[in-house]
Amino acid sequence: MTNARVIDAAETESPTARPSVIPVVAATSLRVPGRGRNAAGAPVRFSFDGRSLTGRAGDTLAAALLANGIHLVGRSFKYHRPRGILSAGCEEPNALVGTDRGKGRYEPNTRATTAEIFEGFCSTSQNCWPSLRTDVGAINDRLAPLFSAGFYYKTFMWPKSFWNKVYEPIIRGAAGLGKPPTEPDPDTYAARYAHCDLLVVGAGAAGLAAALAGARSGAKVILVDEQAEAGGWLLSEPDVTIDGRPAWVWLSDVVRILSGMPNVTVLTRTTAIGYYHQNFLGLCQRLTDHLATVPEGAPRERLWKVRARQVVLAQGAIEKPLVFAGNDRPGVMLAGAARSFLNRYGVRVGERAVVVTSHDSAWAAALDLARTGTAVPLIVDLRPTVSPDLLAEARRSGIEVMCGGTVTDTRGRLRISAVRVNPVAASGTVGEGRWVACDVLLMSGGWTPSLHLFSHTGGKLIWDEDDQIFLPGQATEACRCAGAGTGRFGLAAALADGAAAGAAAARDAGFAAKAGGFAVEGEAAMTGIACRDLPTDRDAAFAKAFVDFQNDVQAKDIRLAVREGFRSVEHIKRYTTNGMATDQGKTSNINGLQIAANALDRSAPSVGLTTFRPPYTPTTFGAFAGYNRGSLFEVTRRTPIDAWAAANGAVWEPVSLWRRARYFPKAGEDLHAAVARECRGVRASVGLFDASTLGKIEVVGPDAATFMNRLYTNAWTKLEPGRCRYGLLLGEDGFIRDDGVIGRMAHDRFHVTTSTGGAARVLNTMEDYLQTEWPELDVFLTSTTEQWAVIAVQGPNARNVIASLVEGIDLAPEAFPHMAVAEGRICGVPMRLFRVSFTGELGFEINVPARYGRAVWEAVHAAGRPYDIVPYGTETMHVLRAEKGYIVVGQDTDGTLTPDDAGLGWAVGKAKADFVGKRSLSRLDMLKPDRKQLVGLLTQDPRIVLQEGGQIVAERDGPIPRRMIGHVTSAYWSEALGRSIALAVIEGGRSLQGQTIYVPMPDTVHAATVSGMVFLDPEGQRLAA
């Protein structure tokens, strides 16, 4: 299908250079004795795709696989191409595996380059079937021309109805990464806040130097690094000396000094995932993923939330892949990664390595490998000339060098077996290719400074034309960048830059700090050029030259996007999906940008770099949730009587943060049966209800009545101590905000109750007015919501039940009438007793100090036994109040109802000079006769209980959509009336009394008659009993 796949035997260098079989190597032979940070690490058994393998303690999964000669670890996202290990760090786009830590601890898409192995570690490849080596989905690779950028917008548009049901599920099924876990996450997660003078992100050379400078000044320092140990690139660069000491000796000295300082916290395995406003950073610390045995109850990860005075970002740089045909074959990897695997883990990545580079750093990898037993037949450098020192070193190691060369193809089904290299003339003409056998191809396109966190702050990036890289510009937060992250490559530069940044940051945080100096020897040069996709002698339109490995985006996709009219990198990114995978384009953004800029014939900055957003690397949901899962997901407020309700079978209902008993079912009862029984019990004899959640505010002071007058609609001045009144609170807009019964305890003291959900809001409103509008009033507020447990005793026998328990209050109707309040004792403890009713029955609300609530409840319950007292829940409470037309603010009102709209005009003190909201009530709009008004509804079929929220129309039939004139706010089955009842807001509702309205439902239309709001005992005789 494509000529790129046709291999001409004549092109090969020699028959011997074309191995048909990759040499099988014993695992140990790829380990270099005595080399690596974990050279003395114990053998560790782990598994990959069910195969039992041996690695070494301290290995990442990638290092251990490579030590076993395994490069093939996965299949690509879209084309199911075999993929290997590209990098040695968090930027890895290819080597994503599933890991299983047992007991339901399965995680997909773990980067093999960051996962640390331990005894029994279990991993599997992804996106392949039936197996990694033989994957049916690889047919996509053969059909690649069908799957160009945006193919799904073009190919699968007809017939339209097929998109949702056929095309999209198939495309989504074929493309992909790991499968999400099927079991709930059994792990726990932790969180921690921290404050420091200096936060240093990255514990490489620059970060260590910055932390040292800051720590020695006395500043409180947090040093954070995502890897298992501090050191950054130093861990891969053991052969330099710093201050006369070998790099690793210097490193352990510095880490020991820092760890020993009381003002320093060093956090490893901790990724700075996001940089937010005012120097607030999120750090995700991995606590147990690397442990073979996790202590019982240990959290898996901890999210640190750090507020830092100053921040130094020493994030380093990420090596760029080169873009050429076949650059994604297993065995093609970044040169720096090969060097890390060798020097840090003692693993040679192959037996025969060809190097292709545009940067000096890859030469060091070639030389290190050559010294440790890997054959390095050839270095291809894209630059026409390189430093004579490098050439001399290569010559000494017997490595052939091709300067001014290019790579145009690779070969090998599941692992690279040969690479095609061509000379490039000064004119740019690509010469004839030859094949060179190899089992690894190391590439380097130079280094990209990591600007992710700097970009999170909104700091602008500046394009460096010389080095073709973006650099940090003006900071918007108190932060500095240092080291390779600022384009200052090289160890000496990083140390000096880090020390200067650390000292300057500490000074800005108020400490006397100075930057130390460091002497570095043995450092290699770090120069190079940037290039887009490599020149080729073949048709580039057919080259499978990958830019974004994880999302399978090729150079030709980006060119296609440009040809189809995309101009901004933000659009090209979304069209091609370049940089949109879980690696967020760490290895692909700059290559993609340079190819796009070339195709557009514009400069890179004018095409733009996409914005980096948190998190820096994929982060678990668990880390974000922290402690807030399970029972700690949200606060569950419980009343003092909650435990009794639980023991008596309550079914719960969440009401704001509270859980309240909704009903108390007896054996075999459903909601309706239980509520009907509870309603009958209250109306026939007596019921018991936990009203403790009601908001309560003690309003005290000589001006208390004046204050209440100004705030509430009602008149308070003439309310006698010992009496209560229903109070209505409006906003300045004249709409109902809250309501509740308010008792005057003394001349200068009110006991205000609010709705359950409104408690905090009403207190804040009161405090706000007192502090800002009426500071002259001598009134003081105290929240007493949780000081009092409230037990409502409601029903014709309510007085009989409590009479024997109450001391100091004459309960006779004439002495203690409806809306009376008094202080006395019940069961020997102090009590405020309200004679109020939210049921329409004779009722009392007993307020006792909260810790007595449970015992008083039980005493009342016991005293009520002769009267068959029935504990009832919120559902019954709602039915009983609706039968009486008592509203619930927030259910029957929605913030657009005036007192008159709600039928509460009687609660407005007409003679009052002012109160909050008064002026709004006289606005023309508020006086219109067709405002929505609260009314009662009686369905024509008494068995039908309307849907709350159901829309109301005036006519049964007519064109759709019909005009909606209101909606149902409350609807219940009324046991007392033997029929359904409802409350509704309807335009001009009160003028529609007796008329029929309609509530259309999906399958039918209900007819109902508009009625008054009070369905039961309109004269209030029961109340006065």
Binding site: Y193, A194, P299, L632, V635, E698, G701, F780, T785, G828
Partner: protein
Amino acid sequence: MIQECKTLQGTAIPGIPGRLAVTLAPDCARLVLRLRPEGRAAAGTALGLTLPDRFGEVDESGERLAICLGPDEWFVLLPECEAAAADERMAATATSPFSLVDVSHREVGIAVCGPAATLALSSFCAFDLESMPAGSATRTILDRAPAVLVKHDAERYRIEVWQSFADHVWSLLAAVSREIALDI
């Protein structure tokens, strides 16, 4: 007299010897005192304390503790038996209008002590506890629960939290205690 039923009664968080001890504070009388600044000195005399005049300042002597929570607001802890007497003395000696409200049952007191106390609280409190002076207090949010936090000294804290939020705070402390016990 009937029995009190106390929030968190019968629960315990295992102590970590030499590191952390989380316990329920003994019962006490809790009063919210609100008055204008000119009445501060007289009110202090009536309550047997010096009422501090700066936010977050604490006056502590024996079992008596007063926290200034606002320009006109003090949270006062007294020995349990003294609430009624304090009320009477205030009524008798106050020089300006005031409000003294008994909220003894509103709150639960939790003592968090030990070298790891600051660390434990930092797990769910955004406030900079290390910089918080010894002998000070603040209103703050513990995860999602509003509370008053008193720092007696670098290793002794007291949380005063409304009863219905206490279980949430207690459960957090239990989780954090496990981390500290595991030294993780």
